[in-house]
Every structure is written in C-alpha cells, then in structure tokens.
C-alpha cells in the first residue's frame, strides 16, 4: 500500500466509556500483523477528519453526554452517509449505534433525535442488562459483555446475530447490519475477543481499496488467547466450547 490504512476513532473520549475506542487499535494492530501499515486517527470534530477514511469506530458513552455527542456527530452526517454508501466498514457500539438511528427514547419520556442513518430506535428496558452476552453470527459465535438500559427496535430484518445468552436488542436478536455498518451492544474489546468479526471488517476495508487480506502470523497467538477467553465464558454459562 502506498499510504497507511486510515482507521478513524470518532469521539474517543465522549464515546469510549468501556474502552470501545480500543477497537480501532485492535483493527490497526491486526492490519500491521498482516503487513499493512495502519494509523488510528482520533477525530473529535469534523476539522480532525482525514482525507482518506478506511474504517470507522464509534463507541459508547454516558447518557448525560448523549446530546453533546449527537451534536458533534451531526456535523459529520454527510460523511457518515458517504462512508456507509461507499462500503467503508463502520463499527458502532452501544450509544454510538443508537445515535445513528432514528432516535433514543429516554426513561423520562423525552427523545434524543438520532442522525437517522440507520433504521430503528432505542427504547427503555424495564431493567438494565449487565452480563455476558453470546450471539451466533455469520462471523462465528460472538462472546462479549453488555451493559445497557435500552433495547433496540426496528433492526429485526438484519441483525448481527441471534442471542444465545443475554439480552441484546431484546426479542432474541442482537445488533444491526446495514451494508458495511455493524451496530452492537457488545462493548469493550469486541473485536479483540472476536477476531472473526474483526477480520470481516478489516477485509472489507482492504478489499475496497484493492488489497487482499490474509491474517498475519502474530494474529494466531492473539486469537488463541481470545478463543481461550471465550471458552472460559462458555464453560461458565454451560455452553459448548469451540
């Protein structure tokens, strides 16, 4: 490649509560392990946007920052739509995902309008979901941790997968897939723990710009650790190991 792969971490402080922003570092590292130069670009306002964007990570934030985060994201609505249309992989976690939807209904009846890029909306749940979550998906069985107080309605037609254990969107499915955009409640190091999903996003990013992707040798050691960590959760939950 003539230029490094450019991975944008959007609002890493405002939307990075559970270390979600670390997923950008995971993608960059996997790219490097495959021999591809990669750089994480932290974007706090539209002025920080780089010329080239190959992948985007948006994490989860605090409810008190919803409007502030939305207002900043709204200045980049056109870019987000353009990337989504152009097939740039975008990983959205928790409130980062909710903010790109039609809107977020809060417990007190008020609504935070979303950017309207993704179908569906977030609605309050009777109780917070804080637990391990296990999802079957086309990228393998995903295991992560969820901690949210809203379900997601309107993604039933194209979820990321089906919930084996946990809450997810509610009603049995988890996440949302729209083209190259993936929304999920699996917070924190979802890509490190689930390299199948990470490699799907990375491959999408590289193929788009005419490159092949073959996971590097370094990845396999990390992926063995991830598998052991996933199996540990599976055993605890009484699920078969991989």
């Amino acid at each position: 490649m003539t230029r490094p792969l450019s991975i944008v971490s959007l609002l890493p402080e405002l939307l990075g509560t559970n270390g979600d922003a670390a997923n950008a570092r995971v993608l960059a590292q996997r790219a490097r392990w495959a021999g591809v130069e990669a750089a994480v670009v932290e974007v706090r306002s539209s002025a920080d946007l780089p010329d080239q964007v190959d992948a985007v990570i948006v994490g989860s934030g605090s409810d008190a920052d919803l409007v502030r985060a939305r207002d900043i994201l709204a200045t980049m609505t056109t870019e987000l739509r353009t990337w989504a249309t152009a097939g740039v992989p975008i990983l959205l976690v928790g409130t980062g995902w909710e903010l790109l939807s039609w809107g977020i209904e809060l417990g007190d009846g008020t609504v935070v309008e979303g950017l309207g890029i993704l179908a569906g909306r977030a609605v309050p749940m009777p109780a917070r979901a804080t637990d391990d979550i296990v999802v079957t998906s086309r990228h393998g069985r995903l295991i992560g941790f969820e901690n949210h107080s809203r379900s997601y309605v309107g993604a039933e037609a194209s979820p990321l997968g089906q919930v084996l254990y946990g809450t997810g969107n509610g009603a049995g499915s988890e996440g949302l897939v729209m083209g190259s955009v993936v929304g999920t409640h699996l917070h924190g190091p979802v890509l490190a723990r689930n390299p199948g999903l990470a490699d799907h996003l990375l491959r999408t990013a590289l193929v788009r710009i005419g490159h092949e992707y073959r996971p590097g040798g370094h990845s396999s050691a990390a992926d063995d650790m991830a598998k052991a960590a996933r199996n540990q959760v599976a055993v605890r939950l009484g699920l078969p190991t991989e």
Binding site: G16, T17, N18, G19, D20, A21, A22, R25, V26, Q29, S62, D63, A64, R128, T130, F145, N147, H187, G188, P189, A192, R193, H218, A221, A222, M225, A226, A228, A229, Q232
Partner: protein
C-alpha cells in the same frame, strides 16, 4: 441507655461470629444491630464533639483517609475511624460496637470515615458531617456504577449533607460542577495540581473529566511538584516538601486532599508542619506500591482498582522494569474494564495470571507488550516468577486486581489487611 440492649446483643453476636470463624464475621453484628436499632449508627456518628468527616469519591479514599487521620492525630486529636475498608453500614456499625459504651457513645474528638460512594449515598441522609471531602470521579467498578453522572449524583447527595465545609478536587470537572450547585450551607475548600504537574502526566490524572484551567495560588492548596516519592505542596503561598508512601502523582494528590481536609476540620488549629510530618511518616499502604521481601527477594506490589489507577500505576513504574507479573482475578467480571488503559510502556510481561489471565494477555499483546507466558494458576505463576533471577532493572513487580492480591498474599503467607480476613 436507649441502645444498650442492641449494643449488648451486637456484642454477643460478634462473640458467636468470631467463635464460629476466628478473626472473621465482623459484618454480622452490624447487620443485627442495624435491624433492631436503626438509629444507632447515625446517632453515634453524629455525636462526636469535633464532628464527623466523610472522605468519599471514586479513587484514593483509603490512602487519603489514612493520611488525614495521621494529620489529625499529630494535632493531638483522638480520632475514631474505620480502620479497615469495611465501609458499608454493617461494617461501620460493627466497628462502632467495638468501641461504644452502653450509652452508645465513643470516646474521641472527631470521627473520620471513608465511604464508598454508593453506600455513602444510601446512609448519608441520616448523617450530619461537618466536613465532606471528595476525591474524584472516575469510571470505577463498571458493573455497579455505570457512568460518571451516576457517581457524581451520589457524591452530590453526600456533599449536600455537609454542615461546615465541602473539600473538592478542583481539577475534577464533575466535582467543580457539583460544588457550583451546592446551596451555600457549607463553605467550599479547593485543592488542585499545578500546570507543571498536570503536564508531567500526559494522559491526565484519570478523572472522568478534567477542568480546563488550574487552580490559582490563593484559591486553595496546590500540588506544585512530584518526583518519585517526594512532592511539594503550596499552602497559603508557602512551599513545603512532603514524603509519599509510594511513587506516583495520585499519592501526592491524596496527600493534598488529606491536607485540605485537615485544614477544614481543624480550622485555626491547623499546622502544616505537623500535618505534613505525620503524612510523610506513613508507611506504604498494602498492595499499592508496597515493597515486601518474599523468599529473600524484594517484590513491589501494585494494586489496580479501576482503569484510571491501572493507567497511573503503569505510567509510574520505573522505566525498563524487566520482571512484571500481572494477575487479574474474578473480581474483574467485565474484561472491557481495563481496555481504556494503554499498557504498551510495560514492554514485556513475564507471566499473565489469575482467572482473567487470557483476557489481560489479549490486551497486552494488542498493545505490543510481549507476554512470555500465560498461567491461570496464580500459585504456580508466583512460584515461577519469584524463582527468576534478580531483575536487571527495577524490582520484581506484581500488578494485581484486589482478588488476585488476596490470593497472592495468602499464597505467600503474608499478613493481610484486616478486612481481608473477613
């Protein structure tokens, strides 16, 4: 003598609990007394002539409380405090039972209590503290306190009970905002670090939000420099050197918090030289930069309790430290917990251990840290780690979560903190 029956019953229960489990069972008598005499705890705590001082916040409570107690005692005050971190109401009641007369009174001039923000918010409604000291708002204990706003709201509830002074960390945006919303019943005392100290911590001090401007001389006590275990504080324009129980800016900030709180509690009697002398004489706190000799080898223990303290501890390790063991246990339920931390400066970790060994190793390798070995069995890991020849740089360093700390101490036959026997 209103509480005499409850106190007597509590003591009998304590005897029974200790008989059943030597050295343990301290929360049970409190549970019993709180059930039959719910007024005992607040009434006793509110009855000290010098009032009640509450230390709360996300991080640094234990160290700050210890330092504050030392500073007050150096001024000749008789202090009641919760020695262990049994900072829930049962534990507190049990601790009070140890010392209360049958009339429910405790000999002492002043009470200093460390309170967990969650439990503190629950019981503070019945308390009338004279001074409330707030350390900081960090994303802490992710499973329980989801976000900073929730933590700040709990702290605001405790601060609103203060009758004299609310002591706040002026570098913490949440606390500054909280202080601005107080109704003016109590005075506000501020403390903060200088621009130089902040600049020396490029990743900040770990607060959920840091204020954009630094405190001016004259607005409160300042931390003006930190070098290893030595720091300088500025009180009313005069600089004083102070010794810390371990390396790291966070310990210096704890000392500053303790000094500000001591001044609020003592008023005109506050003597900076006495207070600083007492704080400088404090031995290292268990598990937080504590240096112990085990099997003939010096080992540094570093306890990480939340992402912020993990980051600060990683940043304050001696550069090039070449023998590191990291053990993360079952107390860290959600592995996301530590991902905000950049561990790359560790360079190489000899062994990743604890029940979350795979998860912490995964994070380390993504940060380009070489992990020699993953060994979930902490006992085995410790034996191997200690058997390694002396390190070339730095001390043998064990970084652990609270659960792994307990297991480490048990495995090595080291005395434990009081609360860990319970």
């Amino acid at each position: 003598m209103r509480y005499a029956p409850a106190i007597l019953l509590g003591r009998v229960v304590r005897k029974l609990a200790r008989w059943r489990k030597p050295g343990g069972g301290s929360a049970i008598p409190g549970l019993v007394v709180n059930r039959i005499a719910p007024g005992f705890l607040p009434r006793t705590l509110n009855s000290f002539p010098g009032g009640l001082v509450i230390v709360t916040g996300s991080s640094g409570k234990s160290t700050t409380t210890k330092m504050l107690v030392a500073a007050l005692r150096a001024h000749g005050m008789v202090v009641f405090t919760n020695q262990s971190t049994a900072n829930i109401s049962q534990g507190l009641t049990s601790a009070l039972l140890e010392q209360a007369s049958l009339s429910g009174h405790i000999a002492g001039d002043i009470a200093v209590l460390e309170m967990d923000e969650g439990h503190g918010a629950l019981i503070s409604g019945s308390l009338t503290p004279r001074v409330v000291a707030l350390t900081n708002v960090m994303v802490d204990q992710i499973d329980r306190f989801h976000d900073s706003d929730m933590v700040a709201a709990m702290l605001a509830k405790i601060a609103a009970r203060a009758t004299g002074t609310v002591v706040i960390n002026a570098d913490d945006q949440y606390l500054t905002a909280l202080a601005a919303r107080l109704d003016g019943t109590s005075a506000i005392a501020r403390y903060g670090v200088s621009a130089e100290v902040l600049a020396a911590n490029p990743r900040g001090l770990g607060y959920s939000a840091t204020t954009t401007s630094r405190l001016d001389e004259g607005e409160g006590m300042l931390l003006t420099s930190v070098h290893g275990r030595r720091a300088t504080v500025s009180i009313a324009g005069v600089g004083y050197p102070i010794g810390l129980p371990a390396r790291g800016t966070h310990y210096a900030v704890d000392a500053l918090t303790a000094l500000s709180t001591a001044r609020a509690a003592l008023g005109g009697r506050f003597d900076p030289v006495l207070a600083i002398g007492a704080i400088s004489a404090i031995p290292p706190v268990f598990g937080r930069g504590e240096i112990v000799t085990v099997r003939g080898r010096q080992v540094e223990f570093v306890l990480v309790q939340n992402p912020a303290s993990f980051q600060l501890n990683v940043d304050s390790l001696e550069p090039g430290t070449d023998q590191i063991l990291i053990a993360i246990g079952s107390d860290v339920r959600d592995p996301s917990y530590f991902w905000p931390v950049n561990t790359s400066s560790l360079g190489r970790v000899r062994i990743a251990s604890g029940s979350k060994a795979q998860d912490i190793a995964l994070q380390l390798v993504y940060d380009d840290v070489v992990v020699d070995r993953i060994e979930s069995d902490l006992g085995l890991a410790l034996d191997e780690f200690l058997a390694l020849p002396e390190p070339l740089t730095g001390l043998k360093t064990i970084i652990f979560s609270a659960d792994s700390m307990r297991r480490t101490r048990a495995h090595l036959g080291l005395v434990t903190n009081k609360e860990e026997q319970e």
